[in-house]
Symmetry: C2
Subunit: 281 residues, 2 copies
């Protein structure tokens, strides 16, 4: 049976015990409602470590006041069943009160990286992410933690935080897992109705189109962005938040596509905000 | 011979080794130029732990642009000699380049507590302190860290950071150590000329006077502050930065002295900024 830990102190004690025994801990932080993207992280964590801890915590501080905290999909029973199959050792599933027990004052901010791309339209989001990830790292004490590249900016920011604060955790990022038709897997895909689900396909198509353009010699970011925007606008009810063509480490916008380049986009399909990206080498 | 470690990686490896062996690490972070205040922390750390690490690092990020970073007193040779006597096991003494190797983007902030008292006149100071302390904790991995109550606000903020971020470090704060005539020990006392040194005594006198007033029934913070200010103004060349009468945990100003109360003050004696405080129970 999979072990469910709900208290910070219990989780800390267990982790301390494992570390004292010299067992390596792999950690996959999630907000639950697991899909194959999460599970690719779990598989890699299993492969590389003696023990695997998955956290399931819908972190309120990374949602904006008008965002989808309340309706974010949750299904603990289903998640536990899946994680049991994958022989995950422990699930850390604290309440919001357990994670933020009193007037909460401390936050971690990675400046320069957190106000761009998704950070521009979700102010405070990455501050919420870095703070909860640091808390989870201090509680779970992993040797290695696993993040998906679907949230590309997130893993860039977390890697920078870990480096800057000398945290003793190795960060592994894993490729985006997609549905057969190319849509990037996301817990938020659940929000899409049939019509929206069909329209959402254009996001990945636009990224692939950008790649084709680059391979065919188009280097101007402005031209690529214009072409992607034009393609995505063919889909009704689709509102583009941003298309960024940038350096994959600094997230600084590039005027021309030279060297390793991240093309990332966020799009509203109906009321659902979806992100996707591609890295061009 | 005392062991001096200058690289982050070496310090991390040593700490990991000690932890694996189950040895407890006591940690005293300092900016060097040690006095009996620091040494009281070292003594307590020795008493409570298997091993003691003292860091000596004048952290640039906690100094404002017009502050005394450059002239801050340094004497490594003397510090090492003293620490050898106290049988400290290791001194972690990194360069600024070792601690901040590249474009530094991550910072930790304890909101609400960092903009009051000293934070009001030293914007960014406590952000520098919390960030370097978190870095040092991640590198040295102490079981317990020791801070002096002379910098009362600092240890309040660090305790809050540790709690909020679930850091696995116990924070011990120790009473202010004073010269025979009452002046709180500080590395910055070195800046004082003979005349200023004499005038600086009024700071502790004002705090003691406040205590006498409270014991004699005066409860109004305004009256106590006025009396302290009047007393300190008798000393020429002395400029009061603030007198705070506040809650020792939240640092919220109190209108009347009820319950445990912190009376803290910062004063410029000539160009030297000195702090001192007293806690009334």
């Amino acid at each position: 049976m999979i072990k469910i830990i709900r208290s910070v102190e219990s989780m800390k004690k267990l982790s301390d015990g494992f570390r004292e025994k010299g067992l390596s801990i792999g950690f996959v932080p999630t907000m639950g409602y697991l899909h194959d993207g999460h599970l690719s992280l779990v598989k890699e964590a299993k492969r590389q470590n003696d023990l695997v801890v998955v956290s399931i915590f819908v972190n309120p501080t990374q949602f904006g006041p008008r965002e989808d905290l309340k309706k974010y999909p949750r299904d603990l029973k289903r998640d536990l069943k899946i994680l049991s199959k994958y022989k995950v050792d422990m699930v850390f599933h604290p309440s919001a009160g357990e994670m933020y027990p009193d007037v909460y004052k401390t936050c971690i901010e990675v400046k320069g990286l957190s106000d761009k791309l998704c950070g521009a339209s979700r102010p405070g989001h990455f501050k919420g992410v870095t703070t909860i990830v640091a808390k989870l790292f201090n509680i779970v004490k992993p040797d290695t933690a696993y993040f998906g590249e679907k949230d590309y900016q997130q893993q860039v920011i977390i890697k920078k935080m870990v480096k800057d604060l000398n945290m003793g955790v190795k960060i592994v990022s894993m490729p985006t897992i997609r549905e057969k038709d190319g849509l990037a897997m996301s817990s938020r895909n659940k929000y899409l109705n049939k019509d929206e689900r069909a329209k959402a396909l254009v996001i990945n198509k636009a990224l692939k189109f950008a790649k084709v353009l680059v391979k065919s010699g188009v280097k101007s970011s402005a031209r690529i962005r214009a072409a992607m925007t034009k393609l995505m606008r063919t889909a009704k009810y689709l509102k583009i938040d941003y298309v960024s063509i940038c350096d994959p480490e600094t997230l600084d916008e590039k005027r021309t596509v030279k060297g390793k380049t991240l093309i990332a986009t966020a799009v509203y399909v109906g009321r659902t905000r979806l992100v996707d990206n591609i890295v061009i080498k």
